[in-house]
């Protein structure tokens, strides 16, 4: 912001000069009434724009597993995530099966998934050891398939489980499992 600059130094031992004093007062008046409000309006608008951008940024976590996992017939695999793609608030520490909802980050989340061709596997989101929702079939490793939102609380442990209902062994990789927070 613009600085206030006083035109005159007023010191003792000088000849009395009311015009210098008045010039200083005039400079202060102009600064307080004109320069400062304009500068602050610009600064606040810029800060608000920055804040809105920050508020609309992604909040949540995305993890992945690049190495292929084989699942034998009629077996369930809890995905062990090996990498963190995004993590805004410390949801995940590699390598782990668990995503832990941080303090004050409970709320409504949209789970979404990019996965190598897992059909006809069944992929389910679990919370604290309870199955919550199963993804519809039709995954792709190139785009996300989303499911309806889930409610989770602080400290909840979210895992992803893959069930192979076939009579043969199938393999999968997870290119991205994302939890996007959409509300407290």
């Amino acid at each position: 912001m613009t600085a206030l600059g006083l035109p005159n130094d007023i010191a003792d031992g000088q000849a009395g000069d009311a015009s210098k004093v008045q010039a200083n007062f005039d400079a202060i008046k102009t600064y307080v009434n004109t320069t400062l409000p304009a500068d602050r309006a610009t600064a606040v608008a810029a800060a608000a724009a920055t804040a809105i951008e920050a508020a609309s940024e992604f909040v949540g976590v995305e993890v992945s597993r690049a190495a292929s996992v084989a699942v034998v017939a009629e077996a369930t695999s809890t995905v062990s995530f090996t990498a963190e793609v995004l993590d805004t608030d410390g949801y995940f520490t590699a390598t782990s099966t668990n995503i832990v909802i941080p303090t004050d980050m409970g709320g409504l989340y949209v789970p979404s998934l990019k996965m190598s061709d897992p059909n006809p596997m069944t992929v389910t989101v679990w919370v604290n050891g309870t199955a919550r929702q199963t993804f519809a079939f039709g995954f792709s490793s190139s785009y996300y398939t989303a499911m309806k939102p889930i409610h989770v609380a602080d400290g909840d442990v979210v895992t992803l489980r893959v069930f192979n209902a076939t009579s043969g062994t199938l393999s999968y990789t997870v290119t991205g499992f994302r939890l996007t927070r959409i509300s407290a």
């Binding site: 600085a3 608000a48 804040a51 309806k148 409610h151």
Partner: protein, 187 residues
């Protein structure tokens, strides 16, 4: 905000003292160039982010009513009696309705439900102005299940939760939580 402090009182009929006057000007200049120059971006960002990410909506239940009985072949609105959260006056306890506020709360809502009782025998639907808009899978008493689709609402829309009984017998249930979460405006 910080306040301006003037170091010297300038009093009439005292010996002229330019130093004191100069110190006062210097104090004003320092204040304007110091405290008033503070970059408030971080403060504003924190305030906006906190507000933007808070819960907006309402949560109601009918726990204080005990169980609600629904006869076979009936579709009954849930008689809400308790308010757990309500950020903008959505719910009037004297009514069974949730009313979308008149100002600023148009938009998309996620509906969520917790319920106990004979819920396996019932279907729960979200109605807006008397029209079914979303359906729940079988709810439970442990955590919120979200409806199959999000619901778009505008000001003054009336939202009700309707229990449908086609089981062949009377059933009873308690809604321990019905939540509407505002997730965004409609452009």
């Amino acid at each position: 905000m910080s306040s301006l402090s003037i170091p010297n009182d300038i009093i009439n009929k005292t010996f002229a003292d330019g130093t004191k006057l100069g110190e006062n000007f210097t104090a004003i200049e320092a204040f304007c160039n110091g405290a008033l120059q503070t970059d408030e971006t971080a403060t504003i960002t924190a305030a906006v982010t906190t507000r933007a990410r808070r819960f907006i909506g309402c949560e109601v239940n009918n726990v204080s009513n005990g169980v609600q009985v629904i006869l076979d072949g009936h579709s009954d609105a849930v008689l809400f009696s308790g308010e757990v959260a309500d950020t903008d006056g959505y719910f009037d306890p004297s009514s069974i309705n949730i009313n979308i506020p008149l100002t600023g709360r148009d938009g998309m809502y996620v509906a969520s439900l917790k319920a106990t009782g004979n819920v396996d025998a019932l279907t729960f639907k979200v109605y807006v102005n008397g029209v079914a808009r979303a359906t729940f899978a079988t709810p439970n008493g442990s955590y919120f299940e979200t409806a199959d689709v999000t619901v778009a609402c505008v000001a003054a829309d009336v939202v009700t939760l309707v229990a449908i009984n086609a089981s062949g017998d009377s059933q009873s249930f308690t809604v321990t939580g019905f939540r509407l979460t505002h997730i965004g405006v409609i452009a």
